[in-house]
Symmetry: C2
Subunit: 185 residues, 2 copies
Amino acid sequence: MNPQHAKQDFPVSDIRRYLEPGPVVLVSSAWQGDTNIMTLGWHTVMAFSPALVGCMISAGNHSHGMIEKSRECVINLPTAALTDAVVGIGNSTGDTVDKFTEFGLTKSEASEVAAPLIPECHANFECRLFDDSLVDEYAFFIFEVVKAHVAPLPVHPDTLHYKGDGLFMVAGETIDRHDGFTKVS
Amino acid sequence: MNPQHAKQDFPVSDIRRYLEPGPVVLVSSAWQGDTNIMTLGWHTVMAFSPALVGCMISAGNHSHGMIEKSRECVINLPTAALTDAVVGIGNSTGDTVDKFTEFGLTKSEASEVAAPLIPECHANFECRLFDDSLVDEYAFFIFEVVKAHVAPLPVHPDTLHYKGDGLFMVAGETIDRHDGFTKVS
């Protein structure tokens, strides 16, 4: 494995550090021997503990049914080095394409779920479906992150943030306003 | 008014352009003559039309009750020029502080809701509560954006993206991958 892809265990209650800034993520899933990946930009952190993340996965995606049936997925955090894969995955369908092969990504075994980790990504968050009450009406899945794997470096990965119209914002500089906080969280 | 703060009407179905990259927002509200502002990082776009945005507004916030009762708010998009206000608003409570006065922000009249617009922000999205079914359990409010006001320049505002621990990522460069899209949206 490329040493840049080596991950460390990371506290699930702190995953907001990576997801709250709003990056595009790659969601991997598995069901009955099949695997798939989708590109996703509509998600939000919902709680620290349990570590909840809400994701919009519309029924038009091949992944929707796989995740609804398996009740699991992995949220993978790509960086700008994977821009081609992020765009390609978002513009093809798992109905007809093996996206891992097509976009040169590897599958690595997760510890808590059957869906594969994508080691080329900066972080991998193993998820179980926590609440499906808004799936039928809005395609909104509330997941609990049950295990997190994060590369220790770089400390501030250059994540991609989708703006629509084929445009991505790449994460810029990080500024520290710790001194302005009464209670840092 | 500072000419930089002049806004134009903007199609509500396109607000993902500003909210999908995951910026911190300032949510303004009004109830029985009182107004308030809170800093919010946990939100996601949920649909284009109606233009839905889901927001986590925990019950510990003074704004929670005001928004639950008035069933309205304005989501305002600050830029790095407002970092001090964003931090200060997120670290004080409307129980005891008039945040507009304290942080030097102006109130401007909205057209569809009673909550005030904050003209110093790059964009203002007037919202009505669309679905409160997850408010009691998760403090998750699903709003419909009913009117959007956006400053035409800069085209790519330097939004703030919170990472926890007092750290903010400032929006970096925008890259165009339009050519990789089969159907741009």
